[in-house]
Amino acid sequence: MVLTISLFLCVSCVSDVDFDQTQDIVLSPTVDASLIFFTLDTSDFESVDTQEAVVTVRDTTRLEFLDDDFIRENLREVTLDFQVDNTFGQSLVNRAAFLNGDGEEQFVVIFEIISSTDGSVQRTEFTQVLSEEDIQAISNANQLANEVILTTNGASINGELTLQSKAIYALEFSDL
């Protein structure tokens, strides 16, 4: 019987497999995540001197996950999507600046917003795919400061602007 047990142990084996391939295992999830959104209307510009050439409204939020080591080490691609519906007649620009903890700009996304000549809703869609260098910059950031820059044209400032945004993060985990 001892011989039989030994025989079992001898004939049983594991072959034709390569466990070193665990080094090659890569997880590469793609994550869609909401970013900021807001609505601006006439009231947000009521205190503004319409005689000034350029008016800027600005708000800032922390986004502390961006400089998280886990994200920083595994982020491979980032795409930022923006969509703006606008009825203001003035010329508008949206400027989203990613800041580090000291408030220094690391990366900026700027795009023009289509103005409305007749009060109808004008939709602006903007996508920015970040380069490797951009990703390096954004992963040093932990705040997002968004500015809407309005250039007056002498006409009264009336209308509404809504902005939606999301980020698509392509991650790659290879050192599991």
Binding site: V17, S34, L35, L63
Partner: protein, 466 residues
């Protein structure tokens, strides 16, 4: 993390009946048959197991994917993992069971003809269902699964290390009917249980705003109960504590087995048993983890406060964190008592004996019941698991060749294998018995391709009637 993935994808299985001891069931000259049917017809008068060696079994299995399927040489391992993740479903499971008899003995009463058996064994049982949705989310992310819910209920794990004191009685009711019962006292050494999770995570497209997407956690109730784990991880008491718990644990349970053998006629017998009807009550050395609630967010809504007119800046990020923690509270310091049910097993068989009657023409020591050298039959097995029953069917040929050697060959069919051949070899020299059983022997030449495997062996003294 790599180890976790390695273990998971190496052994993820479907419908594995890892506790099925089809090779020992109905083997009437092995005491271990009483552990799968306390009402078994047995042929011996007394048994004493060699301590720690009288019975050892270990089994694990895979049907959804084998180790070879993932780790075969050449090709792209990531493509194979992806294929496996999408091919498996949430009923696939990884199962391991191990039993070690610490003490085993039994004797036939001189006064009542009952056979009493008792002992102590240690058992490890692990079942982890494949968390399909969570695996897909981790592997693929949510980008390609907008408006598709990821269910938390896919997370289902139960693991326990216990010791079991047992005492059984095997009684002949009539010449045709033998019944048995076994009382069990369970000592929980370590238990981890997370089996009734609820809720989902979903990312929705929201074309009507306010943002592109809405992320929702709906009705989350994810709980993990542990007992005995906290002090084990902390290393309090070391191995000595584990041994003490195996002998006397603060987390006790009770249960029973029942079984019967019915002699239909001179050649046909039928058996049935129910094993491990019982529960363990966890009251000490507890640690529970719970995440519950519902929450949804569209992202961060900027309000553009009029700073020049004295409005404060809003800490949106802190607000988001606060809302999240308020609506989805996570508590890792609970110490709540809980109850776990043992995985109850069901066995049934029909047997036809023929050939030489081992009891001779007139057996006066065994109520005249015939024992044949050759037996063929069929067995059914089922085990109650967190997500329902897992079943197996077995055909067998059982042959006693002479006073020294007995063999049993089985063919077992279940949802994960249609080529499971098992073999038992039991030898006996005087009163000393050794048995060895293994199934899926066709795959022993390369276990990497096997989707399940088990081995059982033991050494004991068995005393036959004079």
């Amino acid at each position: 993390m790599r180890t976790v993935i390695l273990v998971y994808i190496s052994f993820v299985v479907t419908q594995v009946c890892a506790q099925n001891k089809q090779l020992l069931y109905n083997v009437d000259d092995l005491p271990q048959t009483l552990l799968s049917n306390p009402g078994a017809a047995i042929s011996f008068e007394k048994h004493i197991g060699i301590p720690l060696l009288s019975g050892f079994s270990v089994s694990a299995g895979s049907s959804g994917v084998s180790t070879y399927d993932i780790f075969q040489e050449g090709g792209d391992i990531n493509a194979r993992i992806r294929d496996a993740i999408f091919r498996l479903d949430n009923k696939d499971s990884f199962v391991v069971n191990q039993q070690l008899e610490l003490a085993s003995f039994g004797w036939k009463s001189k006064f009542t003809n009952n056979y009493y058996s008792a002992g102590l064994y240690q058992e490890t049982d692990v079942i982890a269902y494949f968390p399909k949705d969570i695996a897909v989310l981790a592997y693929e992310g949510n980008a390609n699964f907008i408006d598709v819910p990821f269910q938390f209920s896919d997370l289902s794990v139960a693991a326990e290390v216990i010791s079991v004191y047992h005492f059984g009685v095997n009684k002949e009711i009539s010449k045709k009917l033998r019944v048995g019962g076994r009382a069990k006292l369970y000592m929980s050494i370590i238990n981890v249980n997370s089996t009734n999770n609820e809720g989902s995570f979903i990312t929705r497209n929201t074309p009507n705003g306010p943002n592109f997407l809405q992320h929702q956690v709906q009705g989350a109730d994810v709980t993990a109960n542990t007992s005995g784990l906290e002090s084990f991880i902390d290393g309090e008491g070391g191995a000595g504590k584990v041994v003490r718990r195996a002998i006397v644990s603060n987390n006790l349970g009770v249960g029973f087995d029942i079984g019967a053998t019915y002699t239909i006629d001179d050649h046909w017998t039928a058996t049935a048993s129910v094993i491990d009807v019982g529960a363990i009550f966890h009251n000490k050395d507890l640690r529970n983890y719970r995440l519950s609630g519902s929450y949804e967010t569209n992202g961060i809504e900027l309000e553009f406060p009029d700073v020049l007119n004295g409005e404060d800046l809003t800490d949106y990020w802190q607000n988001l964190q606060d809302e999240f923690e308020e609506n989805l509270p996570y508590d890792d310091s609970l110490q709540t008592s809980y109850t776990t049910w043992r995985p109850t097993k069901f066995n049934a068989s029909i047997n036809r004996g023929f050939g030489t009657n081992l009891n001779g023409d007139c057996d006066c020591t065994n109520s005249g019941v015939d024992r044949y050298a050759t037996n063929v039959g069929a067995q059914l097995y089922a085990i109650k698991r967190p997500r329902g029953f897992q079943e197996a069917a077995t055909l067998y040929v059982d042959r006693t060749w002479n006073r020294f050697i007995r063999t049993k060959m089985t063919y077992t069919y279940d949802a994960f294998s249609n080529r499971n051949i098992g073999l038992l070899l039991s030898t006996k020299i005087n009163k000393f018995n050794v048995y060895l059983a293994a199934d899926n022997i066709l795959d022993y030449s390369n276990l990497a391709k096997a989707q399940s495997a088990s081995i059982q062996f033991g050494f004991q003294l068995i005393f036959d009637p004079e």
